[in-house]
Amino acid sequence: MEALVQVSRLVSELNAADAKAANAAIGAGFAYGLAAIGPGVGIGFVVGKAIEAMARQPESAGMVRTTMFLGIAFTEALALIGFVVFILLGL
């Protein structure tokens, strides 16, 4: 929190163009960071459930692993969207 206050104080001391660039960079960082949280939770959930299924029925591990891999990849698309926003905004 203290760091955020310091950053906003620093930004307020900049001229308009620099402040815009600084805000874009901060926004991009937040976009990427926040966009990575949701898929992290989602992937954890997908893998946790898949492991539960494999532990209950080891003979269906092949099917579960296929579904798990596709689930992970779909969930990761959300993080990829955040990454793209991050690149376009302020990398």
Binding site: V47, I51, T66, L70, I72, F74, L80, F83
Partner: protein, 148 residues
């Protein structure tokens, strides 16, 4: 040639990712052409770079599961979670050196990454659901896995 079965041969997720890479390479000329028309030569290089990032990401994700799943389920959980963070970091590192390069178009890179990732997944999903349990590949007549 030995008759030994490697773990990769039995790994369904590796078969899925191999299929997706094969399809990605198949559609690459079309993607490059579209990017070239919209963004010019920078678009072609950006699109090729984005496609390479997505395909390597798929292979890494599948490789992590293929290596860890036969060993232990707890290791699988940890490796997938750490692998997710590592792969995001690798994507960042891959884009960092080219972000201001004149020979690459960043919008084409971003568009290709999104379109290829989602497009290949949806394409693959169609084949997985067609072949029910077994991944990525249409069942052949000689397949031991019969559809019910």
């Amino acid at each position: 040639m030995s008759d030994e079965i490697k773990p990769v041969d039995n790994a369904p997720e590796f078969a899925v990712s191999r299929d997706m890479v094969r399809r990605g390479i198949m559609v690459a000329p079309f993607l490059l052409l579209v990017s070239g028309v919209i963004w010019g030569t920078e678009g072609v290089s950006g699109s090729a770079y984005g496609l390479a990032i997505v395909l390597v990401n798929f292979i890494l994700a599948a490789g992590i599961i293929t290596i860890t799943a036969p060993r232990s389920l707890a290791l699988l959980m940890g490796a997938v979670m750490v692998g997710y963070v590592v792969r995001l970091g690798l994507m960042f590192i891959a884009v960092l050196p080219v972000r201001h390069a004149g020979w690459i178009s960043i919008p084409s890179l971003c568009a290709t990454m999104l379109v290829t990732h989602l497009g290949l997944l949806v394409w693959e999903l169609r084949h997985v659901s067609m072949s029910l349990a077994y991944p990525g590949l249409k069942p052949k007549k000689s397949s031991p896995f019969k559809l019910r």
